[in-house]
Structure formats: structure tokens, C-alpha cells
């Protein structure tokens, strides 16, 4: 490393240590830029792909109220994707490149969205558990060292509480409903619980990026710490509606004040990441077809803008 680079890196790390935010035009190590582009674009892709399992139920929502809610929530997720793409663009990658990376399978998105939504109780469970887990993660990211990413997450966090609450409302009503409804809720929670824990990523012992990301305050807490926080928040919520979390090893540790939980099936996690989840193929296919079918709209908008501009010049 050149002397100049070394001095710049030291100054950069000192700024971070002082709690300063890094802004787009500031000097930053190439690694920091690369890691952020990877993280932010993955996060953005997850918001977009995350619309699919829920969008699947819009036409079948059980009431007008639920339909309005679900439409608004899915629209929010599109908004979240767009806040994040624009944060990533400040680092010098453009939108088309990110879309291309998603569609070609080069870029990843959260493994959770590769599971199917089989019943209406899945929609409640997603709001409660999946958005609940996302809130824990995004609350941390709202304080990260990169200004545009922190601000995008702050904006997202303001909208997520509604997502979680509407989900928990569905669950609490169904959990107090008929036997069939109760069974439906329990079945959905049984399927979504472990994948929700996997949303926080691999265990700290197998997360090679964590040390660097934490030193640069891109992340302020490790995967395992965030996962523990989520479990601690969720257990009382499950008990309050008499839903059983599918983990026989779940027990409270008086000393650490943590809910200890059983072993996560990391083989499943890595298999889904590699594309072998139940819905990977459908999700990417849906994104591809949306991109293709929206093509004429973008072309028409461009033609219209060009025509209007020509008129103004004339």
C-alpha cells in the first residue's frame, strides 16, 4: 500500500471511530465501497423479491380491510427497494447493473423469500416474524457509518412497525379463532420460525466479513447478537397468543436473561442460498417476467419525454 493510501486509510478509520458519517464523495477504501455495494444491493433485491410471497395473497385476502393493508404493505416494500437502490447508486454502481446481477443470479437476496406462502396464516406470520426480524436488523443499519444507507434504513424503519403490527394482529385474531384457524397459525409458525432465525445470516464463527464490517461500523452488532435479540423479543409475543415456537430446546437463562435456543440447520440455509430452496426458481422467473413486461412502459415514457423536449426546442 502506498504511503498516501495508508495515511488516507488511517484518517478514514479515525473518522469512523469518532462516529462520523461517511458521505458519497468522501474518500473511502475500495473494500468499504465494495462491501457496501454488495450489502445494500442484496438488501434492495430482498425488498423487491419479498413482495412476491405476499403479493401471492392480495387477490385472496379474506376481507377488504386485509386487502387494503396487504396492498399498502407490498407497495411499501417496493418503496424500500427503491430507497436502497438509490443509496447503492451513490457508490457508483448503476441501477441496471444491479438488476442484471439479480436476474442473472449473481447477486443474492434474503433466503427467507424462497419459501412458499401456503395459507392466509402465512401472511400474518411473515408480518410478525419476517418483518420483525427485518426491523431488528434495520434498526441497527439506521446507525451505520455510511450516510445514505443509514438514512434509507431510517426511512424504512418508520414504515416497518405497521408491517409487523398488522401481521401480529392477524395472528392474534386467528389464534383466538376456531380450532382450524389455530392449527393454521401453528402450522405457519412451525414453517417460518427457523427460516426467520436464518435471516440474520451465518453464525459469527462462520462469518468472515463480520470483523471488518464491525470495525468500519457498517454493522454495529454481530449476526448472533441480533438473532438473540430477535428471539428475546419474540418469545413473549408467541406466549401471549398461545402459539408454540417449534424448538424443544428453547429455555430462559436467568443469568444472561436470554432465551436460549436449539441448533439451527445451517445445511438448509446454505442449500437455499445456493438456489435449492422450494421457490428460488419461481422468484427469479417472476422478477424476470416483471422486468420484461415493464419494458414497453419505460420505452413509452422515454419516447414521450423525447417528443415533449423536441416540441419545447421547436
Amino acid at each position: 500500500m502506498a504511503v498516501d493510501e495508508k495515511a488516507k486509510l488511517a484518517a478514514f478509520e479515525e473518522r469512523i471511530a469518532n462516529g462520523e458519517k461517511i458521505e458519497p464523495k468522501d474518500w473511502m477504501p475500495e473494500r468499504y465501497r465494495k462491501q457496501l455495494i454488495r450489502m445494500i444491493s442484496q438488501h434492495a433485491h430482498s425488498e423487491l423479491v419479498g413482495m412476491l410471497p405476499e403479493g401471492n395473497w392480495i387477490t385472496r385476502a379474506p376481507s377488504l380491510r386485509r386487502k387494503l393493508t396487504l396492498l399498502a404493505k407490498v407497495q411499501d416494500e417496493a418503496g424500500h427497494g427503491l430507497y436502497l437502490y438509490c443509496a447503492a447508486e451513490t457508490l457508483g454502481i448503476d441501477r441496471d447493473e444491479m438488476t442484471e446481477q439479480l436476474l442473472s443470479g449473481k447477486a443474492k437476496y434474503s433466503s427467507i423469500f424462497n419459501y412458499p406462502t401456503l395459507t392466509w396464516a402465512d401472511i400474518g406470520t411473515i408480518g410478525w416474524l419476517v418483518d420483525g426480524a427485518a426491523i431488528v436488523n434495520q434498526t441497527m443499519l439506521a446507525k451505520c457509518s455510511y450516510g445514505p444507507y443509514a438514512r434509507a434504513n431510517l426511512r424504512i424503519c418508520k414504515e416497518e412497525n405497521f408491517h409487523k403490527r398488522q401481521g401480529y394482529e392477524i395472528i392474534s385474531i386467528m389464534a383466538n379463532g376456531t380450532d382450524a384457524q389455530r392449527r393454521m397459525v401453528q402450522d405457519a409458525v412451525d414453517r417460518w420460525w427457523w427460516p426467520s432465525l436464518m435471516m440474520f445470516g451465518p453464525p459469527d464463527t462462520n462469518s468472515p466479513n463480520t470483523e471488518e464490517l464491525m470495525r468500519w461500523k457498517v454493522k454495529l452488532k454481530s449476526n448472533d447478537d441480533l438473532r438473540q435479540r430477535f428471539v428475546n423479543l419474540t418469545v413473549p409475543q408467541a406466549r401471549a397468543v398461545n402459539v408454540t415456537l417449534p424448538d424443544p430446546d428453547l429455555k430462559y437463562n436467568e443469568e444472561t436473561r436470554n432465551w436460549e435456543f436449539g441448533e439451527i440447520d445451517w445445511d438448509e440455509f446454505y442449500a437455499v442460498i445456493k438456489g435449492h430452496g422450494p421457490m428460488n426458481r419461481e422468484r427469479l422467473e417472476a422478477r424476470r417476467s416483471a422486468e420484461e413486461r415493464g419494458q414497453w412502459v419505460r420505452e413509452a415514457a422515454r419516447a414521450y419525454a423525447a417528443k415533449k423536449q423536441a416540441k419545447e426546442v421547436a
Binding site: 474518500w27 427503491l82 448503476d94 441501477r95 441496471d96 442484471e100 415514457a301 422515454r302 423536449q309
Partner: protein, 94 residues
């Protein structure tokens, strides 16, 4: 893949009497579409009173390396601050 539409920066005024503040950006073919996209992306929750959009390429900005010399004239003039001046003890309202 197609060429991306130009990027526009979005500014929102969320309170009566408050200034417009930067919210983020959108892609759009023209200003009209940029305003509509900005509404859909950044104003889904009401409360927004006004939106400005401006094409990102039209913005002129200082760069971080200007930090020292460019802003120096403002930093050095202590006599622009009231604490620079001393008045007799016990005087109020000055």
C-alpha cells in the same frame, strides 16, 4: 438491458413553514414522471406539502477536499460572532 432513465434528486417539504429537505432520488424520463415517482416512493404516508425534483447532473456541489480552503473565509472571522465583543459587566439585553 435498456439505458437507465436519468436520475433526479428529490426534496420534500413535510411541514408548513419548514424548508425542503433532501429525501433521496428516483429515475424518470422527464420532470413530470419524476414528480409522480417521487410521490409514489417518498410520499406514501401523507404529510408531504410539496416536492421538488432536480436532475442530479444539474447540481453543482463543493467537494470534500474543499473542506479547508473553500470554507476558510467563513471559519476565520471570529468578529462575525457576538462572543468576540466585550461589553461592561451587568449590562443586559446586549
Amino acid at each position: 438491458m435498456n439505458a437507465t432513465e436519468p436520475l433526479w434528486e428529490v426534496f420534500l417539504r413535510e411541514k408548513q413553514g419548514a424548508p425542503h429537505e433532501h429525501a433521496g432520488s428516483v429515475h424518470a424520463a422527464d420532470a413530470e414522471q419524476a414528480l409522480q415517482n417521487a410521490r409514489d416512493v417518498y410520499a406514501r404516508r401523507g404529510r408531504v406539502l410539496s416536492i421538488w425534483v432536480v436532475q442530479t447532473s444539474e447540481i453543482a456541489a463543493t467537494s470534500p477536499s474543499d473542506d479547508g480552503p473553500f470554507f476558510e473565509p467563513g471559519n476565520e472571522k471570529a468578529y462575525r460572532h457576538p462572543q468576540f465583543y466585550s461589553v461592561p459587566r451587568g449590562i443586559k439585553g446586549v
